[in-house]
């Protein structure tokens, strides 16, 4: 995910304190992110801004360093996180609206819907670890939507839950896929 450096939109800003200038400059830097299983990705500061953990990590880097080790997130999940960030890097500030009133933007709705349950849950865990409020709200809402209007039996099917009786049976018998034909 290589990005060419963006032109500095904030060129007109007066220099106030050294800190401020440093942060602004960082936004256009390209960072290398390494996932827990060693995969490498590139992202600029604008993308990283969407994660409090990542943007603070970037801020705390030594001046010559551009590599961030994202120890808690696997490669394919990190890839998706960065894909989402890429799509939202130009967004304005986000106001959290948890609850039935929250509506997902079109792109996010479709993008999240294309993930399977495992990927979705990994994503939610990642948003928690990386402190990404917006993506967390959206992905939690997506899971909730899967549960909406469903009967308990349907919920069990969708989320692969055993009834308490089935569970008890399983504990006794431990069946597995049989090779008999």
């Amino acid at each position: 995910m290589v990005k060419s450096p963006k032109s500095n939109k904030k060129g007109g800003k007066a220099v106030k304190v050294n800190n401020t200038v440093a942060v602004n400059e960082n936004l256009d830097l390209i960072y290398t992110l390494i996932s827990s299983d060693g995969e490498q990705f590139q992202a600029d500061g604008h993308s990283l801004k969407l994660s409090k953990v990542l943007s603070l990590a970037a801020k705390c880097l030594q001046s010559t360093e551009t590599t961030i080790h994202v120890e808690k997130v696997k490669g394919d999940t990190l890839k998706r996180v960065l894909e989402w960030c890429e799509n939202h890097k130009d967004d304005g500030p986000y106001v959290s609206k948890c609850g039935p009133g929250l509506r997902l933007p079109h792109w996010d709705f479709r993008w999240l819907k294309s993930l399977d349950n495992q990927q979705l849950f990994d994503l939610i865990t990642a948003t928690n670890d990386l402190q990404m409020k917006q993506l967390m709200d959206y992905s939690c809402k997506t899971v909730a939507n899967m549960a909406k209007g469903k009967s308990p039996e349907q919920l069990r099917q969708i989320f692969g839950i055993l009834t308490d009786e089935e569970e008890a049976e399983l504990a006794l018998n431990e069946p597995g896929p049989s090779n008999a034909n």
């Binding site: 696997k74 939690c140 909730a144 209007g149 692969g160």
Partner: protein, 585 residues
């Protein structure tokens, strides 16, 4: 059989038991507010291991079974060929193979594959994240979630979710009531009184029995869920459920009930038979008949503390009665004609009279504090918030007074005929006045003099008898038999509700968006003012249209009281009560 011990959890996701708390001391997060929404993994989900491991077995596609299998040469041959195909060719082959095999095999395959794509999110994510997901669901869905498994039930009943669901929507209902003895024993259904959705008499006993357990199982384990569910049940009781309790309070025979108030368990009726009656709603009995006036009672109030009842009469006096003893404490003299209207705040009372004046009194001491002079004709209606008095008169004006000094601050001019009804919203200094000129005017008296009228609501063709305001939505009922819903900010009429056949006498705004109206046509109707349609008829008098009418409505969040009677003896004078209460499940 695969022995459990050999199965690895290879899908990489960590259950809360596996998560270790990282020691990220080089990152300090100074935004504390947002932190609370993140889980640091320290709280584990409730016994998740039981649920996840059986599925992990099925899930584990790559761990090799440790048992020895007889090698089938034909299958081996096929597998070898398969391995050499490209991914696309493999897909093609798989599709082809699936179409060649039978349904039993496909089902078994599904059992292997499907769990891979299912994730029990409540058991696998930290509780805080699971809660965050559940926050997006409504009450109905949460109930279904509770039925999925023990673990899900536990998590779905956590108070936080139900508290946030309830915000705004949940009324602060009184405690579950009795309403089974006294007048409640016999229902209000009788000759000439039809309550279309009343439960049949044979089912009454069951309902009374169920009412006895006021706090159910759910309340014991999840109080906020119980509170929410009770609130929803009460709303449904009003809207569509069968009416499960009713009563009749009889009194003021052959006379008119002129005023009615409810305060807690007290119901007070005033009549032109010169008396007032005080009833206990819960017990269904009359507590006192307040006697002493020598003229008809036309207005009454109950004090905020519930200790005093005040009444105004054609005998020109105001009487203060003790709720505890039923005796009159003070008789306030001063007015020189009928006392027609009154309003009270704390222990300060303001009365309006046909003698064109208003008077301010202290009901505890009986002291007369001020006389408000200015109206040129009878004072018909008054409102008071403790500081400011708003009065409407037959001189076509609305006046604003300072109760402390007795001075008239503003005179709101605009109506072309008598002012009959007032609504005062103290917080925004908004007054709504209904007049015989058929219009409703909305005033803001903080605006410059002469510019106070902010809206002129036209549409009704007769006198407005009642109004209620919530936010910018005003509901009015009129002698032209219509209910109108207005947006006072836009000055427009949003809905017009037709159905009544003659003058509407009063209205009560209930729940979120329901309004009950009473009419001279002898019916009480329930409306949905959001959609602008009739929901149902609550009460119908057979004598309606022939003299039987409903004069007034009073309500609490779980009770509707209807003052019923006639001027020609076709219907006896009484109060019909309908119970909409529910217990805590």
């Amino acid at each position: 059989m695969w022995p459990r011990n050999d199965v690895q959890m290879d899908d990489g996701s960590m259950t809360p038991e596996d998560q270790e708390l990282p020691n990220d001391t080089d990152m300090d997060f100074d935004d504390n507010v947002e932190e609370n929404s993140y889980s640091n993994g320290s709280s584990s989900s409730y016994s998740a291991d039981k649920l996840s491991s059986p599925l992990q077995q099925k899930l584990d596609l790559s761990a090799s079974p440790s048992r020895i299998v007889d090698v089938n040469p034909r299958v081996e041959h096929l597998s070898a060929l398969f391995k050499d195909l490209s991914p696309n060719e493999q897909m093609e082959a798989l599709t082809r193979l699936l179409s060649e095999t039978n349904i039993t095999n496909i089902r078994q395959l599904r059992a292997i594959i499907e769990p891979h794509f299912q994730r029990d999110f409540l058991s696998c994510l930290p509780v805080e994240l699971g809660l965050k997901i559940l926050h997006n669901l409504n009450g109905m869905d949460l109930m279904k979630v509770a039925q999925v498994s023990k673990n899900w039930k536990l998590i779905s009943e956590i108070d936080k979710i139900w508290k946030s669901l309830g915000n705004g929507a949940v009324n602060n209902h009184e405690l579950p009531t009795e309403r089974i003895t006294g007048a409640w024993q016999a229902t209000a259904v009788s000759v000439g009184v039809v309550i279309p959705d009343h439960i049949p008499a044979c089912e009454l006993n069951i309902h009374r029995f169920m009412k006895m357990q006021k706090y159910g199982e759910i309340f014991e384990r999840a109080a906020d869920k119980s509170r929410y569910l009770r609130s929803e049940k009460i709303e449904r009781n009003w809207h569509s459920n069968a009416i499960m309790g009713s009563a009749v309070f009889r009194g003021h025979e052959d006379h008119v009930i002129t005023c009615m108030q409810i305060h807690g368990d007290l119901l007070v009726t005033g009549s032109d038979d010169n008396t007032l009656k005080v009833w206990s709603i819960d017990k269904g009995v009359v507590r006192y008949t307040l006697q002493g006036h020598t003229g008809g009672v036309w207005t009454s109030q109950i004090s905020q503390c519930g200790r005093f009842i005040v009444s105004g009469s054609t005998d020109r006096t105001v009487k203060v009665w003790s709720v505890e003893t039923g005796k009159d404490i003070h008789t306030l003299q001063g007015h020189t004609s009928t006392v027609r209207c009154m309003a009270m705040s704390g222990s300060i009372l303001v009365t309006g009279s046909r003698d064109t004046t208003l008077r301010v009194w202290n009901v505890e001491t009986g002291q007369h504090l001020a006389t408000l002079l200015g109206h040129h004709a009878a004072v018909r209606c008054v409102q008071f918030d403790g500081k400011t008095v708003v009065s409407g008169g037959y001189d076509f004006t609305v006046k604003i007074w300072d109760a402390q000094t007795g001075r008239c601050i503003r005179t709101l001019v605009g109506h072309n005929n008598r002012v009959y009804s007032l609504l005062f919203e103290s917080e925004r200094s908004i007054v709504c006045s209904g007049s015989l000129d058929t219009s409703i005017r909305v005033w803001d008296f903080t605006r410059p003099e002469g510019e106070e009228c902010v809206a002129l609501l036209q549409g009704h063709t007769s006198l407005t008898s009642g109004m209620q305001l919530r936010g910018n939505i005003l509901v009015s009922c009129n002698a032209d038999s219509h209910v109108r819903v207005w947006d006072i900010h836009e000055g427009t009429c949003v809905h017009m509700l037709t159905g009544h056949r003659s003058a509407i006498t009063s209205l009560q705004w209930l729940g979120r968006s329901m309004v009950a109206t009473s009419s001279d046509d002898g019916t009480v109707k329930l409306w949905d003012i959001e959609r602008g349609q009739l929901i149902r008829d609550l009460v119908t008098l057979d004598s309606g249209g022939n003299g039987g009418c409903i004069w007034r409505l009073c309500s609490t969040s779980t009770l509707l009281a209807c003052a019923v009677g006639s001027r020609n003896n076709t219907e006896e004078t009484k109060v019909i009560l309908l119970d909409f209460d529910a217990v805590y499940p």
